[in-house]
């Protein structure tokens, strides 16, 4: 469970102050898929950064499984991110000159996983995103959809509890975007991973269990979609 309490983040000083997050409070149950939706500049990215411990808001708490990660020391937050969280970005951030294997291996290296175990987990992750045949290929030789699948493999290889996705389909055409969405939803439901998607796409947001609308740093609305869990369980043909 993730509890966000009274989160406030401001930039600038006195006369030039800008409030990115203003007293944000909500709760996310384990294994839920959550969309944080808002226009650009609404504070949704800042919220994600605060929830992942990358950013330190001035006020408020982010309690993950009973522990306020904002009160942890930097080393502990780093460890927390390395073992419990992962990220998917709009522009993939895969290392173009490295092989798929090395791209996916990065989080495991950071978490100091033994190399023998590492190999097995990397292969599993790549197979889960149907890139099992691309282990040795350089990331730059992949298509956009394949790159994002590679990023997903990198995100799931350390079996995170929380997966942050920042506009995961923003750089993809709608067909490819759909398959990426399906892949994310089916993986997180199957593994009971909490999925937090930051997006401005209402269609993607509507597919999530919870939709948090954010505007000018404040929560505008929280909608819960009651859907049959089987809806996303089918995995379409992947490009």
């Amino acid at each position: 469970m993730i509890e966000v309490k009274h989160l406030t983040k401001t930039y600038g000083k006195k006369n030039n102050i800008f409030t990115a997050l203003d007293d944000v409070t909500f709760t996310i149950p384990d294994g839920a898929s959550v969309a944080i939706i808002g226009k650009s500049g609404s504070g949704k990215s800042t919220l994600m950064h605060a929830m992942s411990g990358l950013d330190r808001p001035q006020q408020g708490e982010v309690i993950v499984d009973g522990e306020d990660i904002l009160k942890l020391k930097k080393k502990a937050v780093d460890h927390f991110r390395a073992t419990q969280m992962s990220f998917i970005f709009q522009s993939f951030f895969v290392q173009a000159n490295e092989s798929c294997f090395d791209n996916v291996g990065l989080p495991l290296e950071i978490a100091s996983v033994a190399s023998k175990e590492r190999r097995q987990r990397i292969i599993e992750a790549l197979e889960a995103v149907e890139l099992g045949d691309k282990i040795k290929s350089k990331a730059k030789n992949l298509s956009g959809g394949q790159k994002q699948r590679l990023a997903i493999a990198r995100a799931i290889v350390n079996k995170p509890k929380i997966l942050f996705a920042d506009e995961p389909t923003g750089n993809l055409d709608s067909t490819t975007g759909d398959t990426i969405e399906d892949l994310l939803f089916s993986y997180t439901k199957k593994n009971k991973t909490t999925l937090i998607i930051v997006t401005h796409d209402p269609d993607l947001a509507s597919k999530c269990d919870i939709e948090i609308r954010i505007k000018d740093g404040k929560i505008e609305a929280i909608n819960e979609h009651k859907k049959a869990p089987t809806k996303h369980a089918t995995l379409g043909r992947i490009q």
Binding site: H49, S52, L54, D55, K74, K75, D78, H79, F80, R81, A82, T83, M85, S86, F87, F89, S91, F93, Q95, N97, E98, D102, L106, P107, E109, I110, A111, S112, S115
Partner: protein, 452 residues
């Protein structure tokens, strides 16, 4: 993050910018090249000097003087000094204290010295060799029994034994000047003509000689007295690349040398005075004897000191080259700093990602430091390797060109100093990479990920 993984990642990052990595490490390679050659040359020069001294000077040998200024090139005895009849006055007006027969006797009585041989100042008018009337001159010296030389012909007595008083040893060069093969000269007679110093005759002497021999006698008196020393050629010394002494001198026995010296200086101020004495330390360390001699008013130089003088020259030259190499290394340090800064800028996004994925700032810094270490390692390998290959292939040519003698190489490459050099270059590179690495470590991941 495990060290091995960071090292591997650092290596991979460098591989992705091959040209840049290579060029940066080439700057270090220049320094490494110069340093490797310098170390090798120093090693070679030292070994050569060792060999040179080893084949010319007995390690027990001491060179004893009364005047310490002989050993210090900066100190002179110029200026106004009280006159001493035992001193010899040099052309620049400075005087040198000499050893007298009294000193020789005192040194001979010492239990820690043996083989005391004064440095005789030997001169001759001319020499002739049996079978020819042609007159020659050459420098003349006393036979050194403490070092055994190779011979081109004839045999020398065992180490430590003097040649007989009527024997003479000749360098190989002389044989060719005489137009003979070395073997043809063995057993031949060699006649030295030496002149007695013409001491100003007293009035009584002049009166006496005019009375008995007339004006012819007076002419003879003015011309001076000479004597002939007939010697047998015992051996021809082989030319040796490492032999310094006696390579251009005719050598007579120690006794004969004394007789000639005393004959030529009789009646002069130089009679039985020597500026130096060579001796061997007996049953004790040369350094201890040196200290004991110092207490008695003598200054001595050991074989080790002589080595020190040669090494000082080698060290000075080496120091100059090392200085240049260090300048090259300093330049390469800035090269590394620059390259690594650019690398950090180029990889802002990658650093951001790694930090977002939980990589610690410390590990990011290590990644960049190891990259710098790799550059240092590469530069070291290229420079040291290049120097070793070039030096090894040039060695025979250098030996030949400077006629150092067979088996002497001036560039000696030893693995240990090279390994030490490469390790220090890696450390230098890491130090150079410190600032860029710190910049990478302090990068804000949010900012970094925003950079497209």
């Amino acid at each position: 993050m495990k060290m091995r993984d960071i090292v591997r990642r650092a290596g991979r990052s460098l591989k992705q910018a091959k040209a840049r990595t290579l060029l940066t490490s080439l700057a270090i390679a220049v320094g490494a090249f110069a340093l490797t050659l310098t170390i090798a040359a120093g090693q070679g020069a030292r070994q050569y000097a060792d060999k040179l001294i080893g084949s010319n000077v007995n390690p027990q040998a001491l060179f004893i003087v009364k005047d310490e200024t002989i050993f210090s090139p900066t100190a002179t005895n110029a200026g106004l000094r009280e006159y001493n009849a035992d001193d010899t006055v040099l052309s620049d007006g400075s005087a040198i204290k000499q050893l007298t027969q009294k000193d020789i006797d005192a040194l001979s009585k010492r239990k820690d010295l043996e083989n005391i041989e004064p440095a005789y100042n030997l001169t001759m008018n001319y020499l002739t060799v049996e079978g020819s009337d042609k007159k020659y001159t050459s420098s003349l010296g006393a036979y050194g029994a403490t070092i055994l030389s190779d011979t081109a012909a004839g045999t020398l007595p065992a180490l430590g034994t003097q040649i007989k008083d009527d024997e003479v040893v000749m360098p190989e060069d002389f044989a060719s000047t005489l137009g003979k093969k070395p073997s043809e000269l063995i057993g031949k007679k060699l006649t030295l003509t030496v002149a007695k110093a013409a001491a100003p005759p007293t009035e009584d002497e002049i009166a006496q000689i005019v009375a008995t021999e007339g004006t012819a006698g007076l002419a003879k008196l003015a011309k001076g007295e000479t004597k002939e020393v007939v010697l047998t050629i015992k051996a021809i010394k082989k030319k040796s690349a490492t032999a310094l002494t006696a390579s251009t001198s005719l050598e007579v026995s120690n006794n004969q040398a004394r007789q000639i010296a005393e004959y030529t200086t009789q009646g002069t101020n130089e009679y039985q005075k020597y500026f130096a004495v060579s001796a061997l330390a007996k049953d004790s360390k040369p350094d201890d004897v040196k200290a004991a001699l110092k207490n008695d008013g003598y200054t001595a130089q050991t074989a080790k000191d002589l080595q020190g003088v040669i090494f000082a020259v080698v060290n000075t030259i080496q120091g100059i080259v090392v200085g240049f190499a260090i300048v090259a290394l300093i330049a390469s340090v800035f090269g590394i700093i620059n390259t690594q800064y650019i690398s950090v800028l180029e990889r802002t996004q990658q650093i951001g990602l790694m930090k977002a994925l939980g990589m610690r700032g410390r590990d990011v810094a290590r990644l960049f430091r190891y990259e710098a270490a790799w550059i240092g390692f590469l530069g070291g390998i290229i420079g040291a390797g290049g120097a070793t290959i070039l030096g090894t292939s040039l060695n025979p040519w250098i030996t030949k060109t400077f006629s150092l003698g067979d088996g002497n190489t001036i560039l000696i490459f030893e693995p240990l100093p090279i390994v030490a050099l490469i390790i220090s270059l890696m450390i230098i590179a890491v130090i150079a990479g410190y600032l860029p690495a710190r910049k990478a470590a302090k990068l804000d991941p949010i900012e970094a990920l925003r950079t497209e």
